[in-house]
């Protein structure tokens, strides 16, 4: 009960954030918070394959790109209905995940890292060569997406829509990993042979996790395009995939909400460092190296430890 109440309080606080930002006269932070929600969705989706499946995908930015281009291409043809964008993104992201997953999941470990990276790169070059949709320079969206009567060009509306997506996907994700499906994934990560010996189709579970993850990340891609009113191959840059992995690690892998914490932490850190110096990437890089060397404690595990002690 206490748990439920604290979740409700957290959600209410998140929902009220735009008003707080307005009161403080910091409208800029609504957009920034939306960005955090977008990357939280993507990181959470990545955690499904990375944390639960034990599969390090270094190509998840591809799905951000798929979602963003679904918005960009529809919008440039005058279709601004957000549900159409989302449905297209989910279908395209799922299909790409299915096709690449079938090949990539034949391998494991480092080969999987490299293959997912290469497939994402393939899509990156496809986007660069789409001259009709901006090519290298990207595509500016002149029309904002609409959800029924709502205009997603409005910062607050978009923030709430993104928050709704995050909550929905978090609930779905928790159902999924709490069910037999999640147990099989975790079991296969711990001991694949045993799972197979028990007659469980490990490969099929992993593929399904990969496809679902791709679909959810594509949604994040749509929301990213709605946020920036701009679509670019840069969304699919492999460094973005790397940042998603960092978010998951930062938050603590294998806990869906940890990915949300990690996304917020990394984006806040970047924002903070960028305010200090133009060479902020140097500091960020050093922090990542230090994190890797030190005995790892994701932020979420740290939070759990504190809560466990109190």
């Amino acid at each position: 009960m206490v748990r439920l109440l604290s979740w409700a309080a957290l959600l209410a606080a998140a929902a009220l954030l735009p008003f707080a930002a307005d009161l403080a006269g910091q409208g800029y932070y609504v957009g920034f918070a939306t960005r955090i929600l977008v990357f939280a969705i993507a990181a959470m989706a990545l955690d499904l394959v990375l944390g639960y499946g034990g599969l390090v995908s270094l190509g998840h930015a591809a799905y951000l790109g798929i979602g963003a281009y679904a918005v960009g291409i529809w919008t440039s043809h005058g279709v601004t209905a957000a549900p159409v964008h989302w449905a297209t993104a989910i279908a395209a992201g799922g299909l790409f995940a299915l096709l690449t997953g079938l090949v990539a999941l034949r391998t494991a470990g480092v080969a999987f890292i490299m293959i997912t990276l290469a497939f994402a790169q393939m899509l990156f070059f496809l986007a660069v060569s789409l001259k009709g949709y901006g090519g290298d320079d990207g595509l500016t969206l002149w029309d904002t997406a609409r959800l029924g009567p709502l205009d997603l060009g409005d910062d607050r509306t978009l923030y709430w829509v993104a928050l709704a997506w995050l909550v929905l996907l978090l609930l779905l994700g928790r159902r999924l990993v709490g069910a037999r499906f999640g147990l099989v994934l975790l079991g296969a990560r711990a001991n694949e042979r045993r799972m197979r010996a028990m007659g469980l189709e490990v490969g099929r579970h992993r593929l399904l996790a990969y496809v679902l993850s791709g679909m959810a990340t594509s949604i994040a891609g749509c929301l990213l395009a709605h946020t920036t009113d701009f679509v670019s191959p840069a969304y699919m840059n492999w460094q973005v995939s790397g940042e998603l992995v960092v978010m998951v690690i930062l938050g603590g892998i294998g806990t869906l909400y940890g990915a949300i914490v990690g996304a917020a932490a990394l984006l806040l850190l970047e924002e903070l460092l960028a305010g200090l110096t133009q060479h902020w990437r140097l500091i960020l890089g050093a922090i990542l190296i230090a994190m890797a060397i030190l005995p790892r404690r994701g932020l979420a595990t740290l939070l759990a430890a504190i809560r466990g002690r109190s």
């Binding site: 079938l102 391998t107 080969a111 992995v245 140097l282 050093a286």
Partner: protein, 307 residues
């Protein structure tokens, strides 16, 4: 097809393949022996190019630049290994990805701070700035031929080092069973630092030789890194021979595809469709190749026994 164009493009493909081999050999050596995935391998390539640019620019001597690049990157690699990466051999790949991703950010930013964000352009050394007639009426830059020659020479030297010398024997033994080698009284820590420095030097050499062909700029290592990963996966992770075959294959497919695929499609499709699809397909060709190879042989063309 025009035989002159074909010959020129084949040589271009060979040159790309040789460069990719230098990158892939170092990376696959480090991975095959130490189980370390080093995403910052492209940064070592960049470091080689900058070391060349700085030294060549200051002294005017290409050979001095080459020597400085090799030495600087080997030292840089050894320092990286000694200070950070040796702590990560026993960890899972996620920690290695995290740390080496951090290194990429650090190195790119350092390059930007020291040399500025703009690209530097190097000239080809005077002795190699002429062209050689490879076929009647087909001039080809001598510098690129020299790069091909140097790359092949290094490949042979690397093969001899690994197959014929005591160091190579230790490297191979360390790849199979590090505890055993260590029990035999070999300082495995020093061996690893040495192998890492060797891998770094190969990347540095590739970067130094690429300097006069490409522009030297922050972030120049990443596109090469991705190509290198493709080569390693296609060749079979940890296999030097696989890296060699795959590097040449990928070099040829990429170069030939870019040169001829758009024209070929123009014969088959409507011009507008061909113009849209051609360049896209050409730049995706190697990834498609990789997908096909892996669909048939998930472990790559020459799967190494270890790793």
């Amino acid at each position: 097809m025009d035989p002159i164009l074909l010959a020129t493009q084949a040589l271009n493909g060979l040159q790309l393949g040789v460069m990719l081999f230098l990158m892939a050999a170092g990376m696959t050596l480090v991975f095959g022996i130490m189980g370390l995935i080093n995403l910052a391998h492209g940064s070592l390539y960049m470091a080689g190019a900058y070391a060349m640019a700085a030294t060549f620019g200051a002294t005017g001597s290409f050979l001095a630049g080459l020597g400085a690049a090799l030495a600087a990157v080997a030292v840089l690699g050894a320092a990286m290994e000694y200070a950070v990466l040796r702590r990560l051999y026993a960890r899972d790949h996620l920690d290695q990805v995290l740390a080496t991703f951090g290194f990429i950010l650090v190195f790119n930013e350092l390059a930007r701070m020291i040399w500025g964000p703009a690209a530097l352009f190097l000239t080809v050394p005077a002795a190699l700035s002429h062209t050689v007639e490879i076929l009647p009426g087909a001039p080809y830059p001598a510098y690129r031929l020299a790069v091909i020659g140097a790359g092949i020479a290094v490949a042979i030297a690397l093969y001899l080092l690994i197959a014929r010398t005591r160091l190579g024997m230790l490297i191979r033994a360390g790849a199979s069973n590090r505890t055993m080698v260590s029990a035999l009284g070999v300082d495995i820590g020093r061996l690893y630092t040495l192998v890492f420095a060797l891998g770094a030097a190969l990347a540095g050499l590739a970067g130094a030789m690429a300097g006069p062909v490409l522009s030297v700029e922050p972030g120049m290592g990443e596109p090469v890194l991705i190509l290198t990963l493709v080569v390693i996966v296609v060749g079979g992770i940890g296999s030097i021979r696989g890296a060699f075959v795959a590097a040449l294959l990928i070099g040829f497919i990429d170069t030939i595809g870019r040169a001829f695929l758009p024209a070929l499609l123009r014969d088959l499709l409507a011009p507008s469709a061909a113009n849209a699809v051609g360049p896209a397909l050409a730049s995706m060709l190697i990834y498609l190749t990789m997908a096909v190879v892996l669909a048939i042989r998930p472990q790559g063309l020459f799967a190494a026994r270890t790793g």
